[in-house]
Structures are given as structure tokens and as C-alpha cells.
């Protein structure tokens, strides 16, 4: 191989920059947290990708690497995953759903420092038997609030027994409400669902 003359191309192009000096303006000083939520008849599956910007990479790594040995041990990863999930709220029809981390993956520190390191959590919640009709799932992510940009989306359900009917988010997408239906819903079942949610809401402080 031999090098190609980048200089020659540069001279030939005679390019003039009209833009401002916003060079390489990828996300740097905050975190991107992207949640994809799968709603199935018997479970809720949440995949969350957390990508720190380059400017916050060192402080982010330091927060996970509690013993400061330069590597992210399995125990440190588990603890950070626990912290992340503890900042979530997951409610189905007004009732909190317990979650468990099914899997997690952490990039190496070098990838985080380059800005391409993404932590991925796969979290699951078991759904109790639901009556046919309409249901409402609320997901709220308060992890690194004030320092994050959020995305939150429902996935197309794998099961044809679930139909997502609406998604509502707050302004910054740290909160997503998914409305969905289960088949076999009758007017009576829908009414039962409404009453169930109302009862649950009244129980809330």
C-alpha cells in the first residue's frame, strides 16, 4: 500500500467552511439513555442503553470503579446496574412492578473514554394475570436526572395478544406511558380494568 495524497485532494477541493466552529459536535457533556420497552402478556422487557459523553467519561468510570483499580469488576458492574434500576419507576395499572436485571454488558474503559462505550441493561418484570381490555404501563427513569438526554419507545409486541394503542411521554422522554389492550376485552372487562386502576390509584399516597 502507499499513502494517497490527502493534501492534493484538499487543495483541489478548495473548501470553505460556512459553518461555525462546532467541530465534531457529538454528545460530550451528558448521558444518552435510550429505553426500548417490550410489552408481552406475561412480562415487560426493558432494554436500556446508557452512553456517557466523552467529557463525563472519567467521572462516570470513577463512579463505577469504586475500588479505583482501573477495571470494572463484576461486583462493581452489578452494583451500578442496581443503582440504575433503583432510579426507575415501573407501574402497571397504577401498581408497582418488581424488576430484575436479566443481563448487563459494560464496555471497556477505553471505549467509554472514546465516547462509543454503551452500558446495556436487560431488565424484566413479570406481569400478573391481566383481565382482557385496556392497560397502562408507566416507565420513569430518574437515573442521572439533569445530566441526561432520554429516549423511550415501545417495541412492537412479539405476541399478537397485545396491541399498543398509545404512547405518551413527558417533554424530555424520561417518562413514557404505554397504553395497550389485551384481546377478549368486553365493555364489562374494560370497566373492570378502569375500576382496578381507580382502586390502585386511590391506594397511592
Amino acid at each position: 500500500m502507499r499513502g494517497h495524497s490527502g493534501l492534493a485532494i484538499g487543495a483541489a477541493l478548495a473548501l470553505t467552511l460556512l459553518a461555525t466552529a462546532d467541530v465534531f459536535a457529538h454528545r460530550t457533556e451528558d448521558y444518552l439513555q435510550a429505553a426500548r420497552i417490550g410489552v408481552e402478556p406475561d412480562r415487560i422487557q426493558i432494554t436500556l442503553d446508557l452512553t456517557p459523553g466523552t467529557a463525563v467519561a472519567e467521572s462516570f468510570l470513577a463512579a463505577i470503579d469504586r475500588d479505583g483499580d482501573g477495571s470494572l469488576s463484576a461486583a462493581e458492574q452489578r452494583e451500578y446496574a442496581r443503582q440504575m434500576v433503583s432510579a426507575w419507576q415501573l407501574d402497571l395499572d397504577g401498581r408497582s412492578l418488581p424488576t430484575r436485571v436479566r443481563a448487563s454488558s459494560f464496555p471497556d474503559a477505553a471505549a467509554v473514554r472514546r465516547g462509543e462505550g454503551t452500558i446495556r441493561l436487560d431488565v424484566e418484570a413479570t406481569v400478573p394475570d391481566l383481565s382482557p381490555g385496556s392497560h397502562r404501563l408507566l416507565f420513569r427513569n430518574a437515573h442521572l436526572a439533569g445530566h441526561s438526554a432520554y429516549l423511550a419507545n415501545a417495541l412492537v409486541p412479539e405476541s399478537d395478544r397485545v396491541a399498543v394503542t398509545a404512547q405518551r411521554r413527558d417533554r424530555d422522554q424520561s417518562e413514557l406511558t404505554i397504553e395497550y389492550t389485551m384481546p377478549g376485552g368486553s365493555a364489562a372487562a374494560s370497566l373492570a380494568g378502569i375500576l382496578s386502576r381507580l382502586t390502585a390509584a386511590l391506594r397511592l399516597p
Binding site: A14, L15, D22, R36, V156, Q173
Partner: protein, 346 residues
């Protein structure tokens, strides 16, 4: 890469002749009718083989991967220094090899698609000459990579992969069938001057979307506009295999004229491919139009930074400004056929 000189020169001349004819044909109004998908694939495979003929054994080893290699999903919006690409680096090729590589792209893409790709690459050269980069990060037209997955063929599936900062074209070909999904186009700067003219690599995407929004009445806009900010692409790099729930305004609630505008917008991505390959894909998308949705986030005044998404049963397009109008990321996917998943394996 040290060329096999004689073969290389002959191959290049042949490629240039073929490409000249191809690009010329694509500018003709009747070209799509004349250029069938199978013919387009044959021309592209021929150009790919001509490029390979300019390389020595080591060069060919570097550029070729098995069809189902993990290399398939190794693409990114990031520049060199943050993301490491494989394949033939443009800056490492001789002028003849590089000419053959670009001739291949001119054959694989439509005239507009080739222009768009070149303008994205020029944009990265603008970053380089404007003092961008430094440290590990490197910008510029030399930092784009070409790779093949599988053997270029007129019948069995293979993939042409070309990308660098803000560009990832993954074109899978299988005889009469082809897909560009998943592909990523982006631009920063989104506007620059070149040879005395203003260049906007993704300007048509932006302008057609705002033009479509301008035709909508209040009821349509209310349904199309999502009430939250969109920080980035939802299905960008690393998000293969996911299908998000469609949102926004169904195309069935658009007038015929508005549907035509929506298809013009879709063509900005589909039409990157050679016209012979793009035409059947556009027909497929047109067929699914009643199940296709258009969603918008952000101001509707032209010149603003606004996100939009077009999603149908076989299509996801996203356009996501990155904190302003001068840095744009876009994504093109087919949930049923990313990387040619529908095509029979070799």
C-alpha cells in the same frame, strides 16, 4: 495496496466506460424502465470484480469477508479514532485503485445517491481542512472504507459496505433483489461551500419534510407532532433487530398530493441505490403506504431543527438533528430485510 499493474489499468478503463454509460443512463428520464434490477446487479458485480482486480492478494484479503461475518454490523456514525473500520481505506489506495472504488460506487448508486455520498465525504474534508480532529480523531475523505461480504455475484447474496464518519452504506444484492438497509447518512457541516456553490448533502431531505409539513392542516399536524424532544436516532447504529411501535399520522390520512410528497421524501433514501434497484423498492413502499406513519418532533418553521420519522411495515426512516441544524444524523432500515435477511443464503 500494490496493484497488479496491467490488469489494474485495463480493469479501470473498463470500469470507467461502464460507469460512464451507467451514470448517463440514469440521468435519462426513461432510465428506470430500461434498467432492471438484475441488470443493475450485474453491472455492480462487474464493477466490484473490476475493483478487486486492481488489488494484490493482500489487498483482496483485506477487503473481502464471509457473507455472514460479524463485519456486517460493524459500522458507525463515528470518525476514525473513535471507531475502527475494516476493509480498504481510501487513503491507502493508489489513484487507480481509488478510481476503481469510486467507479464502483457510481455504478451501485444513482446519480443523486453518488452525489450525496460524495458530498458527505466532502463535508468530512471540510472538517479536516477546518482544523477538526486532533488527538485520536481523524477526519477527511481518506478515512472511508470499502468492504465486500461474500463474493460479488449476479445471483447469490453479497454485500457492498462503504462507510466512514457520518456514512454507512450497507447494500446487499441478490440477483433481482437488493436492499440498502440498514444505512446511515449524516452531515456536519450540513451546509458548506464547494467550488463556489453552496452544498447541503441532506438538504433535500430537510426541505421536502418541511414542505410536507407545510401542506398539513391543524388536525394532521396535531396527529403527526410528538410532544417530546428527540435527542437522537432511536434505531441508529447498534440497534439492529428492533422494531419500535409506529407513531404519528397515518399516511392514509394524507391527501394524494401529500402522499406523493411523502414518497418523494422516502426516495431521498431509497434512491441512493441505482435506479434499477430503487424502483421496485419504491413500489413496495408505495404498496404499504396505508400502513405507513409520519411523525415529527420540533418546530415546523423551515430552517428549524426538527426530527422526523417515517415508518411502515418494511420501512423506518429517521432524520435527527444533533442540537441544531448544522449536524444531522439519519437512518434507513427495513425491519423485515436489514442486511438482506429475506434473501436465501449462499
Amino acid at each position: 495496496m500494490r496493484p497488479t499493474v496491467g490488469i489494474g489499468i485495463v480493469a479501470c478503463l473498463g470500469v470507467f466506460a461502464a460507469v460512464a454509460a451507467s451514470v448517463s443512463a440514469q440521468k435519462s428520464p426513461s432510465a428506470p424502465a430500461q434498467s432492471t434490477a438484475a441488470e443493475a446487479t450485474a453491472r455492480i458485480a462487474g464493477s466490484a470484480q473490476a475493483f478487486l482486480a486492481t488489488l494484490d492478494d493482500a489487498g483482496r484479503m483485506k477487503v473481502q469477508f464471509p457473507f455472514d461475518s460479524p463485519q456486517k454490523a460493524r459500522w458507525s456514525n463515528f470518525p476514525t479514532g473513535i471507531f475502527k473500520r475494516e476493509g480498504a481505506r481510501m487513503g491507502d489506495l493508489t489513484p487507480a485503485q481509488r478510481a476503481a472504488a469510486m467507479a464502483l460506487l457510481a455504478t451501485a448508486f444513482s446519480a443523486d445517491g453518488y452525489r450525496k455520498v460524495r458530498e458527505i465525504m466532502h463535508g468530512d474534508e471540510v472538517l479536516r481542512t477546518g482544523g477538526g480532529g486532533g488527538g485520536r480523531v481523524t477526519f477527511g475523505e481518506d478515512e472511508y472504507y470499502l468492504a465486500f461480504l461474500g463474493t460479488p455475484s449476479v445471483s447469490t447474496p453479497w454485500m457492498l459496505q462503504f462507510g466512514g464518519h457520518h456514512l454507512a452504506i450497507n447494500m446487499t444484492l441478490a440477483g433481482r433483489e437488493a436492499t440498502l438497509a440498514p444505512s446511515h447518512t449524516a452531515a456536519q457541516p450540513a451546509t458548506y461551500s464547494f467550488e463556489g456553490r453552496t452544498v447541503r448533502p441532506l438538504g433535500d431531505e430537510n426541505d421536502l419534510a418541511f414542505a410536507l409539513m407545510a401542506t398539513m392542516d391543524d388536525a394532521q399536524r396535531t396527529q403527526a407532532i410528538l410532544g417530546s424532544t428527540m435527542a437522537d436516532l432511536v434505531l441508529g447504529p447498534g440497534q439492529d433487530g428492533r422494531t419500535i411501535q409506529p407513531e404519528g399520522l397515518p399516511a392514509s390520512k394524507l391527501s394524494a398530493a401529500q402522499q406523493a410528497k411523502l414518497l418523494d421524501l422516502v426516495r431521498e433514501w431509497v434512491g441512493i441505490a441505482n435506479d434499477g434497484l430503487a424502483a421496485p423498492r419504491m413500489e413496495e413502499i408505495r404498496t404499504h403506504l396505508p400502513q405507513t406513519y409520519f411523525a415529527w418532533s420540533g418546530p415546523t418553521t423551515p430552517g428549524s431543527a426538527a426530527y422526523f420519522r417515517i415508518q411502515g411495515p418494511t420501512l423506518v426512516i429517521e432524520y435527527a438533528p444533533q442540537r441544531g441544524v448544522d449536524h444531522i444524523h439519519t437512518m434507513y432500515r427495513d425491519p423485515t430485510n436489514d442486511y438482506g435477511a429475506r434473501y436465501a443464503r449462499p
